[in-house]
């Protein structure tokens, strides 16, 4: 199975596992997500390496939303997830109960727009079975 890569944000690796695409600066070791050619911490250009991150994470904070942009069903939960190297990402979180400190895993989903019949492949985090507090 080929790597499936979306807009340099996430990819599904050969084992079929989803990852976020981050980068590590070889000048100062800072991690960035989304991945960058130029490190915004030390402004070293062209000396970064791509690192696959974010398979698992911890919920830092989460809020349940009752209004939504197009294509999102309410209610849904949006939160900050801490992933590898202390990187924070904003993401939708799914699960029955979602609390700070819960373990989450990256999942890829596909949804088809009712209006345009266009398929979107996206990513979000899901509470790990039995990983709650």
């Amino acid at each position: 199975m080929e790597n499936i890569r979306e807009q340099n944000i996430f990819l599904i690796d050969k084992k079929g596992k989803p990852n976020l695409i981050g980068s590590k600066c070889l000048g100062c070791d800072h991690m960035s997500f989304p991945a960058k050619e130029v490190c915004p911490y030390c402004m070293t250009n062209g000396r970064s390496e791509e690192i696959l991150i974010g398979k698992l994470g911890i919920v830092v904070s989460a809020t349940t939303c009752h209004t939504a942009p197009k294509g999102i069903q309410v209610p849904y939960t949006l939160g900050t997830i801490e992933i590898d190297y202390g990187v924070h990402v904003l993401a939708q979180i799914t699960g029955n109960t979602i609390r700070k400190g819960d373990k989450v895993e990256l999942v890829i989903y596909s949804s088809v727009s009712v209006e345009s019949a266009e398929e979107t492949i996206g990513w979000k985090y899901q509470i790990v079975e039995g990983g709650g507090q």
């Binding site: 944000i9 989304p34 939303c65 209004t67 900050t80």
Partner: protein, 391 residues
């Protein structure tokens, strides 16, 4: 550097105006400012036009300022279109000031206009979500109310504030808006009304969040020579600062960008925190009033939520905040909000705020501050604008 003065202000009320076009809203605010200044409009040499969503919502993706200001009579002069999400207004204002202070022009205008009621509120919420990294947040359901909710949860956890304290801010802002003919909601809300309104993003209820709005505001600035020719005592632009969001600190040790920027500004213009008599801050959700007041260094961290109970931020309090009603009650037509903050502080400094006029020891206030923020990049806001005006 030339000194810069606010010589004219104008506004169209904020609210829901389905029958009023962007051209109409622009013309109204601009000509109110021209009349207020008592200046020949041909003397205006440069215009900064602040708008965020006329592309996404109204189909005018390009040359907005040139199109809408033509309807207000302007041609030939340079018109610069400014887009910095909710901080577009302060950005436009600062650049109008810069054009004057640099000596390039004698008179410049900053205009902020937005039309967000387009018959489909989901379309508007979706457009607002594009004030973040659309690649990195695609499909996540990014909406700014949720980001404010996450901040509110952090503040509650860190300092022990509760939704009651946030509701007190909404109550205070609604009281101020009752006295502001330009405000979208002119109805006094009780704490119970606020807490019982429907949940938008936990812990923020409907009345804790700024509404979708149509509206416009304009400010004309000029150098000392022009200001003196016009006669009346003019409001002085003491200084302003514009910043972008900072990098995420995994150790969470750095001061916020509001703290960094305001310290830099205070130092540059040589005034102290105690010189600030009043504030207009960016309460896209009421919960950030506490963060803004504290990060500006006006109160110690974690104390503003107790001060709201003492009436400190009311019109007659020690440090009035959002005399206009703020974004939550006055309304938040994105590109106009930052300009409207300048309009309110100007009116207060001139003593023209009528029933919502602030007094310091029986006298008119001397100095006011505006804080305007916008958008999101990674873990911070995208843009910050702070302006200090005095008389």
């Amino acid at each position: 550097m030339e000194k810069v003065y606010v010589i004219g202000v104008g506004m169209h009320p904020f609210g829901r105006f389905l029958d009023k076009s962007l051209k109409y809203l622009t013309r109204h605010a601009v000509w109110e400012a021209i009349q207020d200044a008592g200046i020949d409009p041909k003397k205006v040499e440069m215009a900064y036009f602040s708008n965020s969503f006329a592309g996404a919502l109204n189909g005018q993706h390009s040359v907005r300022g040139q199109i809408y200001l033509r309807d207000a009579g302007f041609s030939e002069i340079p018109i610069i279109n400014v887009e910095n999400a909710c901080a577009s207004g302060s950005t436009a204002f600062q650049h109008a000031c810069l054009a004057v202070s640099s000596g390039q022009v004698g008179v410049a205008i900053a205009v902020g206009v937005e039309k967000m009621f387009v018959g489909d509120n989901t379309k508007t919420i979706t457009a607002l979500g594009s004030a973040g990294d659309v690649e990195a947040t695609k499909g996540q359901g990014l909406q700014f109310t949720a980001l404010y909710a996450l901040k509110a949860l952090n503040y509650m956890e860190e300092y022990g504030a509760t939704p009651y304290h946030f509701a007190k801010v909404a109550e205070k802002n609604s009281e101020n808006a009752v006295l502001n003919p330009f405000a979208q909601f002119r109805k006094k809300l009780s704490v119970e009304d606020v807490l019982n309104s429907r949940m938008i993003a936990d812990p923020l209820t409907l009345y804790m969040c700024s509404p979708i709005a149509d509206g416009s505001a304009a400010v004309i600035v000029a150098n000392e020579k022009v200001a003196n020719q016009l006669g009346q005592a003019q409001v002085h632009v003491k200084g302003s600062i514009l910043k972008s969001g900072q990098l995420y600190d995994p150790n969470n040790k750095q001061p916020s960008m509001i703290t960094k920027a305001s310290n830099e500004l205070f130092e540059k213009i040589g005034i102290g925190h105690s010189d600030i008599n009043m504030l207009e801050v960016h309460d896209a959700a009421v919960s950030v009033e506490f963060e803004h007041i504290e990060d500006l260094g006006l109160l110690p961290k974690g104390t503003a939520f107790q001060e709201i109970l003492e009436g400190t931020f009311s019109l007659s309090g020690k440090l009035p905040v959002n005399m206009s009603g703020g974004l939550t009650s006055k309304g938040h037509p994105v590109g106009a909000s930052g300009v409207a903050q300048i309009v309110e502080i100007t009116k207060q400094l001139r003593g023209e705020a009528k029933e919502r006029q602030v007094y310091k020891n029986g006298k008119l206030p001397l100095t006011g501050l505006c804080l305007n923020t916008g958008g999101r990049v990674e873990d911070d806001r995208a843009a910050y604008g702070i302006t200090i005006l005095s008389r």
